[in-house]
Amino acid sequence: MQALYAQLLVGLINGSFYALLSLGLAVIFGMLNIINFAHGALYMMGAFVAYFLLNLGGINYWWALLIAPVIVGIFGMILERTMLQWLAGLDHLYGLLLTFGIALIVQGVFQNYFGSSGLPYSIPDQLKGGVNLGFMFLPIYRGWVVIFSLVVCLATWFLIEKTQLGAYLRAATENPTLVRAFGINVPRMITLTYGLGVGLAALAGVLSAPINQVRPLMGADLIIVVFAVVVIGGMGSIMGSIITGFALGVIEGLTKYFYPEASNTVVFVLMVVVLLVKPTGLTGRAA
């Protein structure tokens, strides 16, 4: 039973990464109608920026949490301005192909310069060590990841669903022409939204840098699972993707305990089941 609690907690930790990443994807899909396959590459860039900040600039983890999402976010906005904006109104397939291509290029460039086995990034001193919870030894850093990402997820949800700015955003996706008539700069808002989604990916990258290796393919390995999470939760649903992210982390954790060989596939099995029963996803609305 103790082992079960431990696995539940570990599942929550992984779930926080799924939630942060799928949240960014959901924001981008919901507001821009783009299936952002470059998300994994941008997550990887976040981790690399944190590594460079520390090793070249001597800037620590805490500042990296702030600076890396901004830098990668700006990179994302440049992508949106120069490439993605021309795809507005076209079939989803074009956005998917373009962002997939961008992901391959970014990963290839990093792999060429930094190889595939990765670079070390250590846990900040303040979060080293762990606490014994009785049923498991919880590394403090992992606890921090769960709490921090939960806060970020809820703040993003609040921003989009409950504030004036969020209302403009949602309105702009429903009817851009009308919103523009009210004097709101819709293209700029869309660029900023893409920047926000990308920033969330980079933030997840910084969070994961001390746990995983900072590797060029770290995002490619994760992104497919995250897409499954988004599909299960319902494309474009903010709260849906947060809840599904955490829930799937837990389910995957339990699978690792009961039948580890299937831990890589359980998410996709669930995806198939959900698509068969409720094709719009658990929280999605019918189009």
């Binding site: 190889g115 595939s116 846990i123 498991m136 590394p139 992992r142 954790g253």
Partner: protein, 406 residues
């Protein structure tokens, strides 16, 4: 007109005679380096293996003696089906004589069958499974650098003798992990130890915390990592995070490469015990080769043991070809010749190619240095012991290779 016809006839006759020479022994060799060029094993093999092969061709001096040696490379992406497709195409279309490297035991075993069927030469350096020279041995295969039997015996025995008598395995769920766990379990139980449990994880796993918690709960003294590359580095890093080593359990990295230690960082990796058959800083010969190698390598990385094995294996292959006086384009014949010449090269020292295809040479027990002991960017290992070549690998009387039953 008459002149033209006779010239044509003469030309045809010459062409035919050249062609007939080409079908028998000639001095044309084509080598294919089949590796993981971009996945989790790309740093320990990959482009570095291709470079090592190029250096072997240059250093052999055969080109100056009128030989033509071509080199091509391919990416098997860690998928057996892609590996065998490339190998088939190389033999059927590109007329490749020899396939080298092939890390990833799953792919290596699949390619082993293709090379045998096409009667090519197979010099494997990157794969670990000892099956290549046991149950699945082939007259066309030479297994150069290391194997699971050697890893299990050198590291496993040392740890059990030091008191690590209960084991829990974290095993990569494919041919290599299974072979390494099997071979290590045999060593542990033979030395009076006990395996208390284990878990099989999928290849290329990012998060090991669930598995590590199970290992922690097992209370085993040794957690054996029967995995490789990125899987091993992630396991070690996350084990440190979960306080496993501080809690008194010891990690046994059964297969650890130089590039893995670099990726983990000395801070976390210090004190790990493991076995390799090559290290760049072993002696003057290895240092001289490594200096030349790293000058041509991006990131100035020195060679790993897999890359060194590609070089040494090809050098031995060229020796055999030279002794034959030409390339017979008959893999089994060349490999048979390789078995008659004792191996002796600057990187692995003296040894031999045994009848089952296994190459024997010394194996070294290393310990990862403390950050304070490391003097340079790749100064990572301390030598703590040497296992002589004739004891490190499967004894021939225990090998299950069918080639030995004559």
């Amino acid at each position: 007109m008459k002149n033209t016809i006779s010239a044509l006839l003469l030309g045809t006759a010459i062409a035919l005679s050249v062609a007939s020479v080409a079908s028998a022994d000639d001095k044309v060799v084509k080598i294919g380096v089949l590796s993981d060029q971009s996945g989790l094993y790309a740093d320990l093999a990959g482009p570095g293996s291709t470079l090592a092969a190029q250096m072997a061709i240059e250093d052999s001096g055969l080109k100056a003696k009128g030989w033509t040696i071509d080199l091509i490379s391919g990416d098997h992406q860690n998928k057996p089906d892609i590996g065998t497709t490339i190998a088939r195409q190389w033999f059927d279309v590109d007329k490749v004589d020899t396939v080298v490297d092939v890390p990833n035991s799953g792919v290596a075993l699949a390619v082993n069958n293709v090379v045998k069927e096409k009667n090519g030469v197979y010099i494997n350096s990157g794969a670990a499974t000892s099956d290549l020279t046991n149950a699945q041995c082939s007259p066309n295969t030479v297994h150069w650098t290391y194997d699971t039997y050697m890893l299990a015996h050198a590291t496993g025995q040392a740890l059990v003798k030091a008191g690590g008598d209960t084991w829990f395995f974290l095993t990569a769920d494919y041919a290599f992990g299974a072979a390494l766990e099997r071979d290590t379990t045999a060593v542990v139980t033979a030395n009076g130890g006990k395996v208390v449990g284990g878990v099989k994880h999928p290849l290329n796993t990012a998060d090991f915390s669930s598995f590590l918690l199970q290992a922690q709960a097992s209370k085993a003294k040794i957690i054996g990592l029967a995995n490789a590359g990125g899987d091993t580095t992630n396991s070690i890093k996350q084990a440190a995070e979960f306080g496993i080593v501080k809690g008194g359990q010891k990690l046994a990295a059964l297969l650890l490469f130089l590039t893995d230690v670099k990726a983990i960082g000395l801070e976390t990796a210090q004190g790990l015990n493991f076995t390799e058959t090559f290290y760049w800083d072993l002696n003057d010969n290895t240092r001289a080769f490594s200096k030349r190698f790293s000058e041509k390598m991006k990131n100035s990385a020195p060679p790993t043991m897999v890359q060194a094995g590609v070089y040494a294996g090809l050098m031995h292959y060229f020796k055999a070809l030279e002794a034959l006086g030409g390339n017979p384009h008959d893999g089994a014949k060349v490999v048979a010749k390789m078995k008659t010449i004792p191996t002796d090269d600057p990187l692995f020292g003296k040894g031999e190619v045994e009848a089952n295809g296994r190459v024997t040479h010394d194996a070294y027990l290393f310990e990862v240095k403390k950050p304070s002991e490391s003097k340079g960017p790749w100064d990572f290992y301390k030598l703590v012991g040497t296992v002589p070549g004739n004891q490190a690998f499967t004894p021939l009387d225990k090998s299950t290779c069918a080639l030995l039953k004559k």
